[in-house]
């Protein structure tokens, strides 16, 4: 009898494709996404974009920059990218332009190597008098500054051996009593060889472990974005979680179309003066409004409970909220029009929305992901919506700076709606 019950359940499962998909495809898809993000080739460190401003232009500073450039975990930028192929190369970053770039989200960290760094590049212990590097960071990315600081210490140790030895000599002079002239001549000879090797690029700076040094170079970190924010990640999570649940709501709401098709109401409505285009457009308007109200509720909750600075960002919120709601509503309409039953819609929407949310940054920030995954995230509504809300609430950028997100979200919404309209032809005539 137990076997018979199990057998009946097995037959039912075989007939229920949606349940099969959820049982097998979804776990595999999620396993693969997490494996790619956190586990590939033991390289769990994401690539960090780093702007470097070398105000010193000394041998030591150039060696440090070279060492940083050789790090595979860093993408070092000393100047902005050219606007077009034939355009002249833009000027190197200055401290001011680097700060602006970090504020605009071009890179999460900028390193300023001050003038005079080459004179006293390193310091053995606090208060030892070495030059201080300045690290400008964006607090929304908590990982990048730590990676950069760690790598900076490592690179200082490995890319500037002559400086290390030179500084060591000074410490020996000061605390040990100094060398004899013969010893000093011998050391100078060795240092010359090291400097030559550094100049020839023969020092080994780009490999080895990623463990941070113990403060060989002094670094002063300064947050240039989010320094005055009370709750740094609230706006991110309001947008990230909001978009994910908006998608579930939108697909569920668009599923009313399937209920109406099943009950015959859809066909009856289409026998009145209402055409399929008008019907879908009406539902799109409703679902867009519903999604927008949901976003408002979520951000108001963030304001009331988590001190999110909502009311001073209303124009940006309105623009991003409406564009996101429109794209998400059109996405829901497409899912509903592709399915034949509520059960199918439930399975498909769960699969697609969870995958989009994980890749698009709704579950964890995209800066934690490998470069390829971050690029793949741009294929999702989540990523564009989150980026837009981040510009509004985190970077305090004006509404005009939202044009890429607005263009993509509205464009995606229009395209998805047109596809949904095309697919919905199956309901129009027999």
């Amino acid at each position: 009898m137990i076997w018979n019950v199990a057998r009946t359940a097995l037959i039912a499962l075989k007939r229920d494709r949606g349940a099969l998909v959820l049982s097998f495809v979804l776990p595999l898809a999620f396993f693969s996404i997490f494996a790619v993000i956190f586990g590939r080739d033991n390289n769990t460190t994401p690539t960090v974009k780093l702007i470097v401003v070398d105000q010193d232009q000394s041998q030591a500073s150039r060696a440090l920059v070279k060492g940083l450039e050789d790090e595979t975990s860093l993408v070092v930028m000393t100047r902005p990218g050219a606007k077009s192929k034939n355009a002249p190369a833009p000027a190197d970053y200055t401290a001011a332009t680097a700060e602006t770039a970090v504020k605009a989200g071009v890179a999460p960290v900028a390193l300023i190597i001050p003038e005079g760094f080459g004179q006293h590049p390193i310091a053995f212990g606090p208060g030892a008098g070495g030059s201080t590097l300045e690290l400008l960071n964006d607090q929304s990315d908590a990982i990048a500054p730590q990676i950069v600081v760690g790598l900076l210490q490592k690179v200082a140790l490995t890319s500037m051996p002559s400086t290390m030895a030179d500084e060591g000599m000074k410490y020996a002079d000061k605390y040990v009593g100094g060398f004899t002239p013969a010893q000093k001549a011998k050391v100078d000879e060795g240092l010359q060889e090291l400097r030559k090797a550094e100049a020839d690029g023969k020092t080994n700076a780009g490999s080895g472990s990623n463990s941070a040094g113990a403060g060989i170079v002094a670094v002063n970190e300064r947050a240039v974005v989010g320094e005055n924010k009370k709750s740094p990640m609230i706006s991110f999570y309001a947008a990230a979680i909001g978009v994910m649940f908006l998608m579930f709501t939108a697909s569920g709401s668009a599923g009313a179309l399937l209920d109406e098709a099943e009950s015959g109401t859809l066909e009856r409505v289409l026998s009145t003066r209402v055409t399929m285009t008008k019907l879908l457009a009406g539902k799109l308007v409703f679902n867009t409004g519903l999604a927008f109200v949901q976003l408002v509720a979520m951000f108001l909750w963030g304001w009331a409970v988590f001190k999110l600075d909502f009311f001073s960002h209303l124009p940006g919120f309105a623009v991003m909220g409406l564009c996101t709601a429109f794209a998400v509503a059109a996405f829901g309409m497409l899912l509903a029009s592709l399915c034949h039953t509520r059960a199918q819609l439930g399975a498909l929407s769960t699969l697609v929305i969870l995958i989009m949310s994980s890749v698009g940054g709704s579950m964890f920030p995209r800066f934690l992901m490998p470069e390829s995954m971050q690029k793949a995230g741009l294929l999702t509504i989540n990523a564009w919506a989150i980026d837009g809300f981040e510009k509004v609430f985190w970077r305090d950028l004006p509404v005009t700076d939202l044009w890429p997100q607005v263009a993509v979200l509205v464009g995606v919404g229009v395209v998805l709606f047109l596809i949904a309209r095309r697919v919905a032809r199956r309901w129009e005539y027999a």
Binding site: S263, G264, T265, R268, T272, A430
Partner: protein, 315 residues
Amino acid sequence: MTASVQKAGTETALEVGRLVKRFGDLTAVDGVSLQVRAGECLGLLGPNGAGKSTLIRSMVGRVIQDSGRVTVMGHEAGSTEARLALGWIPQELSIYPRISCRENLGSFGRYYGLKGHALKEAIAWCLHWAALEEKQDDVAKTLSGGMKRRLNMAAGMMHRPKVVLFDEPTVGVDPQSRNRIFEMIEALRDAGTAIVYTTHYMEEAERLCDRIAIIDHGRIIAEGTKEELVEKTFGRCSQVLARFAGETEAIEAWAKRHDGRVTHETAEFTIEQAGEIAPLLDDATKAGLELVDVTLRRPNLESVFLHLTGRELRD
């Protein structure tokens, strides 16, 4: 000819001309031609799969026909004018279950372009017509089966169409509610509305329909008033229904010898004169069949249907 046929106008409200609709190799509607006049109720009868639904949906303009034509008040089916002249009451409960009766009617009224005072008036009329005034604020899904059916009908009447298609409107309805629905339809017909009525209940067709068209395999195989159909099918013949105790095979063999048929353990014969009954029963006795009862009757609509299609209406 019934009284209501006499009342029917001469204006053709709905016309189907040589309509053909194929789905792949299947010809669902095969050259059907029909006319319904204002104030007339045409019953459309046919076994399941005969092509009734496709024909009805063609009238609504929801089917792209392979050939032929359907017009509603002179307008091509599916055109805006035809949509406004036609009311369709689908077999399924095609209403919004989570909103009230009044809100349902309001929604469908707006879909037909009604607004303001005209919309309010139409809602009031429909609520009265469907006897749902007291339930107007009740959510549709909380109504009884009969009330849901009436609301389903009222939703198709908001724009006061001149032609109404009723697709089995009494399915799953208790006798009391069914009577109420009959009265609603009769009121419409008496007010001059042209009606097409499909049903699986012969007594409904006999009560409501002025003319009946029987459809099978996509074709109209008979059309006329009930009396005309009986006359055309059976002439002046009568039917003998005989019930026997005994083995079914023996009863069927005996019935077959006399061109009869057996349904529900009752043998059925068509005879021209009463004198034919005695020899028939004598032969049954000789065949060893034990007679339980015998009835002589004038053929009815069900007899016609069975005779023409070889199937009962509910098959």
